[in-house]
């Protein structure tokens, strides 16, 4: 197990280095000039040049990259070229919003998706399965910005069930905090829930046909107990993998969802930075997302071996 972890960590470091190069070069391929954006439309060429000098944009790419990496290792992500604020402060302010939102969305998606998946398997060929399948189809095919707008129009504005926008830090006021995040989390989790539902249904159907399920029923266990202890547990292995693969989509979904519900999150920060060519912020944001991705994958792999004892590497010796 330790060997496995060390290997995985080493792979992660290599991935990070590659990612930093891609990010650094990618940002510089964006059309537009940060110095121009900073100086404003009516600045003189001299003023723009001075800003370029100040930001170090005139130096060679390699020097710029080494500086970038060196600063990053010291925890210094630089300053926003737009507002002058420390990038670390910006991230610290916005990241929790997104993390709460995503975590909440995952929980919603897993609960809804797995439940619907079980229902679909349990009532195969009858109306509950049709309903679950229809819901999954809607969840997959309707874009979540539109779903978000509909939700605001009807659930928030017309019936007043949820606030239409706004954010209350969960650490300050948990009840209000979760209440404000509920609608965004549902919208963000919709497509993930749909994918999870379909996977759960498919792998439950497969698992319930296996020999060990029949043997379990021959013990005299109720169908419900067999479903949970024999069917679900083995089906979850697939579901965990799917969640891991779908998290990338969740991050890009968060960008859109935060925009719709006016949440001051990471997604909004990213979007604003891209529109204003805020190099330091873009770099930091993309790298953090990469780190997040790597950590999530690591977590999924570890979780995988917890659920599935057969791939526990090395075992207890």
């Amino acid at each position: 197990m330790l060997n496995y972890l060390v290997t995985r960590l080493w792979q992660s470091v290599v991935t990070l280095i590659l990612a930093s190069i891609v990010v650094f070069l990618g940002v510089r391929q964006l059309p537009g000039d940060p110095a121009l954006a900073m100086a404003g439309e009516e600045a003189t060429p001299e003023r723009v040049e001075a800003i370029r000098e100040q930001l170090g944009l005139n130096e060679s790419l390699i020097t710029q990259y080494l500086k970038f990496v060196g600063n990053m290792l010291r925890g210094d992500f630089g300053q926003s070229t737009r507002t002058g604020a420390q990038v670390t402060d910006l991230v610290a302010a916005t990241l929790p919003v997104t993390l709460w939102l995503s975590a909440y969305a995952i929980v919603v998606a897993v609960v809804v998706g797995v439940l619907l998946g079980i229902i679909a398997e349990r009532f195969r060929g009858r109306w509950p399965e049709w309903m679950a399948n229809a819901l999954a189809l809607i969840g997959l095919s309707v874009p979540n910005f539109w779903l978000g707008i509909l939700a605001i129009l009807y659930l928030a504005v017309a019936f007043g069930l949820f606030p239409a926008s706004g954010y209350v830090p969960i650490t300050q006021d948990p009840i209000q905090g979760f209440y404000h995040l509920t609608l965004p989390a549902i919208i963000l989790g919709t497509s993930l829930a749909a994918v999870i539902m379909r996977q759960t249904r498919a792998s439950m159907i497969e698992t319930m046909k296996t020999d060990f399920v029949r043997t379990a029923r021959a013990k005299g266990l109720s169908r419900q107990r067999v479903l949970v202890r024999y069917g679900l547990r083995n089906s979850l292995i697939v579901v965990v993998t799917i969640i891991g693969l779908q998290l990338g989509g969740l991050i890009s979904g968060a960008v859109v969802t935060e925009r719709i519900f006016a949440l001051p999150g990471f997604g909004k920060l990213t979007l604003d930075a891209v529109f204003t060519r805020d190099y330091p912020v873009i770099q930091a944001v993309v790298l953090l997302i990469t780190v997040g991705y790597i950590l999530i994958n690591l977590a999924v792999d570890i979780l995988y071996s917890v659920i599935n004892p057969r791939i526990r590497v090395g075992g207890k010796s």
Binding site: T210, D211, K219, G220, L221, R225, R229, N234
Partner: protein
């Protein structure tokens, strides 16, 4: 229900006119099946795959797969008719009154649940909830089923158990609530003969001790004869014949039973060795000397497994040599080295004086033409997307033999040789039966006119009647074409039928080798004697 008569005790289970259908308006797969099992009686149902024996179990437990359902008849357990009982009622029958030991120990345990918990689940179904009590009972049951260190092993997962040990776990589950009837569905067909014997002996002791009735499902007449009081022979969803083991084996009445008995691969079955085939060259075609193969064990630095340990033997031209052994004996590794699919750590395997592992390029290609394999699983070894013609002529295309036209002719000729109609050429493997597929595999192996065929468990996956046909085919091909065979098998009865010489392997080493007759008549090693006495059915017939 049927009333008990004065001379026989009331049957525990009474099946009358059972008819089962899959899907709507389809032909029934079981027709008018009737039989009784009396308390303490042991009854075997014998039949080949597709005969409907597993469907009977599915009906009794009301766990038929898919859309199978009972369309007629009754299944009386005491006064309950299980054929029409509610699901709620069935739950009080399953496990408590009827226990099931399923067929395949590899797939019948939940892979993500500790073994102890799976046994505890069976107890939980009867309302045992007290944690400490359940744990104690689990350890008791495992010990009773013959699992050493039960306390520790209860906390392990199924993949940490060997096949035999898993089957013991399944037996513990089936007996956990002391059912009146135990159904054993081919409980040992996936296991080695010696393990099979241990498990069956143990099962029998337990069943006898508790006075449990036994319904034993098997394809093996020998096992049925050894272990039960009465045999029911089934074919195509109907009961063909019922009788005591002696009646069925020694005096079968029905044609089908007679064929089954004749084909039964017991140690006494007809010897089918091809008599002295006329070959021009003499001397060994294959010489294996001091072959060693070591594998590094993953995760344990420095540990080495000697899968093949100083193995030497030879195959004479035009004869059959069998390597016999249980799983893990290294017999398949030997075959893989000879085929050049694996390299030897040391030692040599020479085909007509040339070593395939030492050869390179052209020479190696030429050697490959002369040695061809036939594998065990006719379902896995044929590409399902290829037509039969494409499968058989693939080796010809690889070696660029002839043109399109002549290859077509050759395929037709090969189909004739393996007694398949030429019309199958355009079909795909999934349209053929297991036996037909194995004929295709043999035809493919023969395409390049090899001198040596390596048959790795080539008939193990087939039903006895089909197995007999394939063995006959192999013997015919040997006398017509002067082929030599290296036959890898775990089945001593098959060895007796086809091999001139036999090599007995265990844990990578050769235990004994010699002429088949001599080895069978007076085995010199204890292990061979153990293997021979483990062959089911031998005791009864001889």
């Amino acid at each position: 229900m049927t009333l008990p008569t004065a001379d026989a005790p009331a049957p525990l289970l009474s099946v009358r006119g059972l008819e089962v259908t899959f899907g709507d308006n389809a032909e029934p797969v079981l027709h008018d099946v009737s039989f009784d099992i009396r308390p303490g009686e042991r009854v075997a149902i014998v039949g080949q795959s597709g005969s409907g024996k597993s469907t009977i179990i599915g009906s009794i437990l009301r766990l038929l797969p898919g859309d199978g359902h009972i369309t007629g008849g009754s299944i009386l357990l005491g006064n309950d008719d299980l054929a029409t009982a509610s699901e709620q009622h069935m739950r009080s029958v399953r496990g408590r009154r009827i226990g099931l030991v399923p067929q395949d120990p590899a797939s019948n345990l939940n892979p993500s649940m500790r073994v102890g918990a799976q046994i505890a689940d069976a107890l939980a179904a009867s309302g045992h909830r007290n944690g400490a009590d359940v744990e104690k009972r689990v350890v008791e049951l495992m010990t009773e089923a013959g699992i050493p260190e039960a306390k520790r092993r209860a906390k392990q997962y199924p993949h940490e158990f060997s096949g035999g040990m898993r089957q013991r776990v399944l037996i513990a589950i089936a007996l956990s609530r002391q059912p009146e009837l135990l159904i054993a569905d081919e409980p040992t067909s996936a296991l080695d003969v010696t393990v099979q014997r241990q498990i069956l002996n143990h099962l029998q002791t337990l069943v006898d001790a508790h006075g449990t009735s036994l319904l034993f499902i098997t394809h093996d007449l020998g096992v049925a004869a050894d272990r039960t009081d009465r045999i029911i022979v089934m074919s195509e969803g109907r009961i063909v014949e019922v009788g005591t083991p002696a009646e069925i084996l020694l005096n079968p009445q029905e044609d089908y039973t007679k064929r089954l008995v004749a084909a039964a691969p017991t140690a006494v079955a007809a010897v089918r060795v091809a008599a002295g085939s006329s070959t021009v060259k003499t001397g060994p075609i294959l010489e294996v000397s001091h072959l060693v193969k070591e594998f590094k064990i993953r995760g344990q630095r420095g540990s080495i497994l000697r899968a093949v340990d100083d193995v030497s033997f030879s195959v004479e031209r035009g004869t059959t040599t069998a390597i016999v052994g249980e799983s893990g004996s290294g017999k398949t590794t030997v075959a893989r080295i000879i085929l050049g699919l694996e390299s030897a750590t040391s030692g040599t395997a020479l085909v007509d004086g040339e070593g395939i592992t030492a050869s390179r390029g052209q020479q190696r290609r030429a050697l490959r033409r002369r040695v061809q394999p036939v594998f065990q699983d006719p379902y896995g070894s044929l590409d399902p997307t290829y037509s039969i013609e494409k499968l058989i002529d693939e080796p010809l295309r690889i070696f660029k033999v002839g043109d399109r036209r002549s290859r077509q002719d050759r395929v037709a000729e090969l189909l004739d040789q393996v007694a398949l109609p030429r019309t199958v050429a355009q079909r795909r493997p999934n349209e053929l039966s297991g036996g037909q597929r194995q004929r295709v595999a043999i035809a493919r192996a023969l395409a390049l006119e090899p001198e040596l065929l390596i048959c790795d468990e080539a008939v193990s996956a087939l039903d006895v009647l089909v197995q007999e046909q394939i063995l006959t085919l192999l013997a015919d091909l040997q006398s017509n074409l002067g082929l030599s065979y290296l036959f890898i098998t775990h089945d001593l009865a098959v060895v007796r039928q086809i091999a001139h010489n036999v090599v007995v392997m265990k844990s990578g080493e050769v235990m004994e080798e010699g002429a088949t007759d001599a080895v069978f008549r007076s085995p010199s090693s204890g292990y061979t004697r153990e293997l021979l006495s483990a062959i089911p059915g031998a005791s009864l017939v001889s």
